[in-house]
């Protein structure tokens, strides 16, 4: 008996929907095994991880706080990946967006008006987009691999942030802690309900709506789809691959930048050496789990946010390492990519008759 992959004549709609669910199921199963090996009760551990975050108002709010940047970035990346443009550096674009957006509260501290907030978000988007423009330029001009350039630039951005908060932008009254002054008034994102959830999540939903229309209704979305599927056919259609590279990197960089300024003007309220628990990287998983579809990204963003909260809860309740959440995210991405094979292929068992003719060699 032998298993082979057989190509389907068309992609399977059913498996397109089933693949992420199958991947989640396999991840949960693998997680249970990992917990069991660590000597924990797997049922209790999985409950703490995936269910408990949904049982209290506080943690539900926290899920939305964390889902907002994941959805913003993930939606941008899904458009990017559709075009076969592999922006892996959203974490760096997020960081640059946060720094550039913070010019308003740190340099023009006294500017207190709704316009100040608009300026911050605009500058945040600009910072992220311009930072993503560097790999776009290198790709179009020198054919440099954007996976490498965008990834390497993450570390530059993070070190730059570190220098900024320890150097020029350090709060003079901050007892020498590496952090900027605390933002105030209109230089913070307005919050919803009783305080933690900010309007970032609303922004994320609006972005998802716009990108859904872009990808399903417009010629630009069609262009992205064609270039991603088949660059040669794209050229035949009169589309420019270089323009698509620019568009995708500027768009996803800009959205990552908005997520970045959303973090510093939202939950943290100031610049710190670390402003993101790896949202830019986790958003890659969000994009794939969401089938590179903006609406799918909405759900995937919430799902991945839960693993963050669950990871924190598990650290406290079960005493497991805080890295467990990252292990889960990695396992999930692994299974999604593996399960996606089934969209274009089906598994077939070769019976023993074929085996004999092979053995005759």
């Amino acid at each position: 008996m032998k298993l082979v992959l057989e190509k389907r004549s068309e992609h399977s709609e059913f498996m397109t929907l089933m693949s992420p669910l199958l991947a989640i199921a396999l991840t949960v199963l693998t997680g249970a095994i990992i917990f069991a090996v660590q000597g924990l009760n797997p049922f209790e551990a999985l409950y703490v991880y995936f269910i408990e975050p949904l049982t209290s108002m506080w943690s539900l709010e926290e899920v939305f706080v964390k889902a907002a940047p994941l959805i913003l970035i993930g939606a941008g990346l899904s458009v990017c990946y559709m075009a076969n443009v592999w922006n892996i550096g959203a974490e760096g674009q997020l960081t640059m967006g946060a720094i550039v957006g913070s010019i308003v509260p740190i340099v023009f501290t006294s500017w207190q008006s709704p316009l100040a907030l608009v300026a911050m978000i605009t500058l945040g988007a600009l910072g992220g987009a311009l930072y993503a423009a560097i790999p776009a330029f290198l790709k179009n001009r020198f054919n440099a691999n954007e996976i490498l350039t965008s990834l390497m630039m993450v570390y530059i951005a993070q070190l730059f942030l570190d220098w900024v908060v320890r150097g020029p932008w350090k709060d003079p009254k901050g007892f020498n802690f590496p952090q900027s002054i605390a933002f105030e008034g209109w230089q913070l994102l307005p919050t919803l309900g009783d305080g933690r959830v900010h309007i970032g999540i609303i922004l994320a939903v609006i972005v998802v709506a716009i990108l859904t229309v872009l990808m399903s209704r417009t010629l630009k979305g069609f262009e992205i789809l064609v270039i991603g599927n088949s660059p040669r056919a794209g050229r035949f259609a009169g589309f420019s691959r270089k323009k698509v590279v620019w568009f995708c990197l500027l768009l996803s960089g800009g959205l990552a930048g908005i997520a970045g300024i959303g973090e510093v003007a939202g939950p943290s309220g100031q610049l710190q050496p670390t402003i993101s628990p790896g949202y830019g990287f986790t958003a890659i998983i969000v994009a794939f789990l969401g089938r590179l579809n903006p609406i799918g990204v909405l759900f995937a963003g919430v799902m991945l946010a839960i693993t963050y909260i669950g990871g924190e809860a598990a650290q406290i309740d079960l005493g497991v390492s805080d890295k467990t959440a990252q292990v889960f995210q990695g396992i999930l991405l692994f299974f999604i990519l593996a399960c996606d094979t089934l969209i274009l292929y089906r598994i077939k068992m070769l019976g023993s008759t074929k085996q004999q003719s092979v053995a005759a060699e």
Binding site: H11, R217, T218, L219, L225, V226, A233, R235, F236, G238
Partner: protein, 530 residues
């Protein structure tokens, strides 16, 4: 025509022949890639297998080498019927094959590469010695410890040959071996093959280079559309007579079945020159051509002589040169994008259906949008796509051009080659373009679909459009073209009226009779590719 030179399988088995293939038929769906093919190989004979692309040479060879099983017919090895289940079985019989595309690992050295094909317990030191011996004996200089990545194409081919020779083959199959070699390397190879033949090894030599076949081979079997159309002694033939056999003696060199009054020039190429795009591209050199309203002009030529480069230059997928180099409907279009050229009334059908003419993973209606997004007002408005309109156009095209499909709007990749070609051609014809440029319109398409496509092109010309067909299929060209030009190494001959051309003349043009050795030095800076 199409009847066999040899006697049928009823004759008593003789041992004069090393290998006999009797009545081999291989069906792929409805297409007979090999149709009752008979081939006889004697020991010590260099036997040429001649034919155009798609004539069935590769299919026949794959059957002999065991990678395909025939639908009907039998193979006889030394007079005994054999069934060759797979390439390993072929090697056990003593059949070796050198493929056109090598299967070598660049990061490994010569011995390691050869060892991979041999049983696991082979001693590397012994092998190294054997390789040196064999390569010296047959004049195939090869350093066993050299890294494959550092070797030239010719040296890599030597590895493949030595790999075969180590197994002491009695039949060596060479698939287009000189396609990748320099003339000097080719000469060296011929010496080796002659030496092998002298020692009694049979060589089956696949090629469409007639001069080589004349020089090297003792016997030649000629395939055309899956059938044996002749078995000749190449020494007694001329290149022209061999060419005629290859492309078919039944071709009527006249296209008398319709009259046309050519109108104004709708497509004009004016001193079009273009440098090669990369090391494997072909430069276009000073190409001039007029295509008038109401006529079909065909460009003949052997594959890889600049056809796809010419197509890209006319379609605007690659723009270069001057605005006046390409004129579409009296407008200088040389610097226009493909979209502007389409708006100006041109339609294009490239050679590759999947991945160039159509996106495999998109539905047919989305593939309508691919080439028609900017010239049909109904398909896109202020940046938004009208999907209903695309679906309606798709229904019309699939109905008018008989595109058979399993569901109303399937993905392009799920269609068969012929049906997808009808779709890709229909998509352009449906626009009633003033100028249609079409590359290999019926390549790999069954006869029914081919007839439909050819008729549609003639109808378009009759309706007053200019049609330029680039094709390797001379039957097709004589069937539809009013005038014929030939492309060879990026240079285009004058376009002759189809009635004035004979197969011999086309054959000479295909071999480059019209090429200027030194393109004239007035202004344009063409380079002739080697």
């Amino acid at each position: 025509m199409g009847d066999h030179v040899s006697t049928k399988g009823g004759t008593a088995a003789t041992t004069d022949y090393l290998l006999e293939a009797r009545g081999i038929t291989k069906m792929f769906g409805d297409l007979a890639a090999n149709d009752d093919v008979t081939l006889k190989l004697a020991p010590g004979e260099i036997h040429a297998l001649l034919g155009e692309n798609g004539a069935g040479k590769s299919t026949l060879v794959k059957i002999i080498y065991g990678s395909l099983q025939p639908t009907a017919g039998s193979l006889h090895w030394l007079g005994q019927e054999v069934s060759i289940a797979n390439p390993a079985a072929a090697r056990n019989l003593g059949i070796g094959m050198v493929f056109q595309h090598f299967s070598l690992f660049e990061a490994l050295n010569v011995v390691e590469n050869i060892a991979l094909a041999l049983p696991k317990d082979t001693d590397i030191k012994d092998l190294s010695q054997k390789i040196s011996d064999v390569s010296k004996e047959y004049g195939l200089p090869l350093e066993p410890t050299a890294l494959v990545a550092d070797l030239s194409v010719g040296e890599r081919q030597r590895i493949e040959i030595v790999r075969c020779l180590l197994q002491e083959p009695r039949l060596l199959i060479m698939d287009e071996p000189t396609a990748v070699l320099t003339p000097q390397e080719a000469d060296q190879l011929f010496l080796t093959l002659e030496r092998l033949a002298k020692e009694g090894c049979a060589v089956l030599y696949i090629s469409h280079r007639l001069d080589e076949v004349k020089r090297l081979c003792h016997d030649a079997t000629i395939l055309r559309m899956g059938k044996v159309v002749g078995q000749v002694d190449p020494q007694k033939e001329t290149a022209a007579s061999l060419a005629r056999l290859m492309v078919g003696a039944d071709v009527h060199a006249i296209n008398a079945n319709r009259e046309h009054k050519p109108g104004e020039t709708l497509l004009k190429l004016n001193r079009l020159s273009q440098d090669a795009d990369g090391p494997f591209g072909v430069s276009l050199v000073d190409i001039n051509l007029d295509v008038k309203a109401g006529e079909v002009v065909a460009i003949a030529g052997v594959a890889g002589n600049g056809q796809s480069e010419l197509f890209d230059a006319i379609s605007g997928e690659r723009t270069s040169g001057t605005a006046g180099a390409v004129q579409i409907d009296a407008r200088d279009s040389g610097l226009d994008t493909i979209t502007q050229r389409r708006r100006n009334g041109a339609g294009f059908v490239p050679e590759e259906r999947l991945g160039h003419g159509a996106v495999p993973g998109l539905s047919l209606s989305e593939n309508i949008v691919l080439t028609r997004h900017s010239d049909d007002a109904g398909l896109s408005k202020s940046g938004f796509i009208n999907r209903e309109s695309a679906i309606a156009i798709n229904e019309r095209i699939t109905r008018d051009y008989d595109v058979r499909k399993g569901k109303p709007d399937p993905e392009a990749r799920s269609l068969s080659g012929g049906n997808l070609q009808k779709f890709v051609v229909g998509r352009e014809l449906d626009r009633k373009p003033k100028v249609l440029v079409i590359n290999q319109p019926t390549w790999g398409v069954d006869a029914g679909a081919a007839a439909l496509i050819r008729q549609a092109m003639i109808d378009l010309a009759l309706a007053g459009s200019a049609v330029l067909v680039i094709s390797q299929d001379l039957d097709e060209i004589f069937e539809i073209a009013d005038r014929i030009a030939v492309i060879s190494r990026g240079q285009l001959s004058e376009a002759f009226p189809a009635g004035d051309l004979t197969l011999e003349k086309i054959g000479l043009l295909m071999a480059g009779a019209h090429e200027k050795k030194n393109p004239d030095a007035t202004g344009t800076n063409e380079k002739v590719s080697a």
